[in-house]
């Protein structure tokens, strides 16, 4: 497939980038591993749902999907990009879809890979019944299904209250809601939140609704551990820095962390990453309208720094227009108003990200016996011993312990390992760089890469004479 603009990621940023680029007349291909566009925040209801009440998220997602359907954009859904290459002025994505392999090339590439959740590893976080808060939210949006109750919802930022409210609306049973934020954190953020009063009011409504329903809300607490044998039986919560905590009986824990940019695709495309705590951690350096240090490569949305869905829409639109202009399509007349709106959305999103970053890690909660790397079963003690034994960075930690070398690609342990080692050495966060990204970006079945063949047809050299 050849296009003028290729967009990776069909969340609010990528889908709006694609729509904006297509609006200039450019031929656009939009790639996403989800079944339908919308990303995690506007995830579409699954085909098993015949009817359900509309929510602001489902309405926003449906509107986006309707605009996409009317746009003439070639949407590759359920497609996983596993490698990115640039040859001259052409960008090529290698994509696995339905167990087969294809490449998609374009003059301009927009990466809108979104964000993922990074939680603090604590004892018991590997037990079945512990689900990432962002993942639980996505399951509720797609399947309208709630985890078995009683459920503890813990994390920081607005997502905690949104997810808890959704569990209640969908008929789930809440045991308790815990946020690492203190009430004072929310009050301090109020002036910036007032920039988008509708969203601020919704947030206040979630909290009020939970309180009215008698759901206990525990401010200034983080998960210290999860108890259970075959699954979750109880959740232990403590105030940051220690102190007397409490234990709550539960069958499920929706465990939130901080949102971090999915920067692997951008790094694989050749962009240097820099650490910006206010943007969620390691992210590519991005200029105006998503421009990067690579010609024809644009990055937008949470993957360029976590700023939320509203900023993803404006940032995606700007990046899509810039990508189309790079591909030779006449640009939009006046972008000043859009850039002003984007700046306002970024300010709100930055405040939300700051609240959510309170879940960043109390490294003290990760005890030495805690499993850091879920894929390879590497404990915190093993990682710290390797670091003390001379592993300077994450690359040598990987080769020494196999931490981060499993099928998730280190997405759930490398950040936590970095912070543990940084804390042990008295270094600030962001001192240890993420390892060099390598393809595949996602696990790809070999069968999708190798063409089918008959064994007899393989060229076999004659054995060497003895």
């Amino acid at each position: 497939v050849t296009a003028e603009v290729v967009v990776l990621g069909a969340g609010p940023a990528g889908a709006n980038a694609a729509i904006a680029a297509a609006g200039t007349g450019a031929a656009v291909v939009l790639i996403d591993e989800g079944r339908a566009a919308g990303g995690q925040v506007w995830r579409a209801k699954g085909p098993a749902i015949l009817a359900a009440p509309s929510t602001p998220e489902s309405a926003a997602g449906d509107a986006l999907r309707a605009r996409l359907a009317a746009s003439g954009i070639d949407v590759l859904a359920g497609a996983r990009a596993w490698h990115i290459e640039r040859t001259g002025d052409v960008w090529t994505l290698h994509v696995e879809q339905d167990d087969s392999w294809r490449s998609v090339a374009g003059r301009a590439l927009v990466i809108a890979a979104g964000a993922r959740e990074e939680v603090t590893p604590v004892p018991g976080w590997t037990l079945p019944g512990v689900i990432g808060l962002a993942g639980a939210t996505a399951l509720m949006k797609e399947h309208l299904a709630v985890p078995p109750g009683p459920v503890v919802v813990a994390g920081a930022g607005p997502l905690v209250f949104f997810a808890a409210s959704e569990i209640r609306r969908l008929g789930g049973e809440l045991a308790l809601v815990a946020t690492a934020n203190r009430r004072a954190d929310w009050l301090a953020a109020a002036p910036d939140l007032a920039a988008t009063p509708a969203l601020a009011l919704r947030g206040a409504g979630w909290i009020a609704g939970l309180r009215a329903a008698g759901v206990p809300v525990l401010w200034g607490h983080a998960v210290a551990g999860v108890d259970g044998v075959d699954g979750v039986e109880g959740v232990r919560l403590v105030p940051p820095g220690g102190g007397p905590g409490r234990r709550v009986a539960a069958r499920s824990l929706c465990y939130g962390g901080r949102l971090v940019p999915n920067a692997e695709a951008a790094a694989l495309a050749g962009l240097p990453l820099r650490y910006d705590a206010t943007a969620g951690g390691w992210a590519p350096k991005v200029g105006e309208d998503g421009a990067t240090t690579q010609p024809g490569l644009f990055v937008c949305g949470d993957g360029a720094g976590v700023r939320g869905a509203v900023a993803a829409v404006t940032g995606g639109t700007l990046a899509g227009l810039a990508a189309a202009a790079h591909a030779g399509r006449a640009g939009a007349a006046d972008l000043r108003d859009l850039r002003v709106r984007h700046a306002r959305a970024v300010r709100f999103g930055a405040r939300m990200a700051e609240l959510a970053s309170a879940a960043t890690v109390d490294t003290a909660l990760t005890t030495s016996a805690t499993i850091l790397c879920r894929c390879e079963g590497v404990t915190a003690a093993a990682a710290l011993a390797e670091a003390a034994d001379g592993a300077g960075g994450l690359l040598s930690l990987k080769s020494g312990t196999r931490l981060g070398m499993g099928p998730c690609g280190g997405r759930f342990c490398l950040g936590a390992a970095a912070r543990l080692i940084e804390a042990a050495r008295g270094l600030p966060p962001g001192s240890l760089r993420p390892p060099t990204p390598r393809p595949p970006l996602r696990p790809v079945p070999i069968s999708a890469l190798a063409a089918s063949f008959a064994y007899e047809d393989l060229p076999m050299p004659k054995p060497a004479p003895l």
Partner: protein, 93 residues
């Protein structure tokens, strides 16, 4: 759990996980159908050999990997279908 109001689903069908019959709605994910049925242990962790289940819910963590006809697939991305035979990757803990 009280049933949520105003939600209608495609009538359920049966599939199996580790030989056990489970009901799910066609098109929803196997991971969600198993969660509703109270089946949360999907595999065994390396190292500690402890029970593992669906964690990230969005195809990233690979903790909910199961197999269908010998092919590995995430339970959170696998659609329920009538008669689908789903097996864990190895013996459950």
């Amino acid at each position: 759990m009280s049933p949520a109001p105003h939600i209608r689903r495609v009538p359920p069908v049966r599939f199996t996980f580790a030989g056990r019959a489970v009901e799910g709605h066609p098109g929803e994910s196997v991971g969600v159908a198993l969660m509703r049925a109270g089946v949360t242990v999907l595999g065994k962790g390396p190292g500690d050999g402890g029970p593992r289940g669906m964690f990230c819910g969005m195809g990233l963590c690979q903790e909910c990997l199961v197999q269908v006809a010998g092919r590995r697939v995430e339970a959170c991305r696998l659609a329920v279908a009538e008669g689908l035979v789903v097996e864990p990757l190895g013996p459950l803990p």
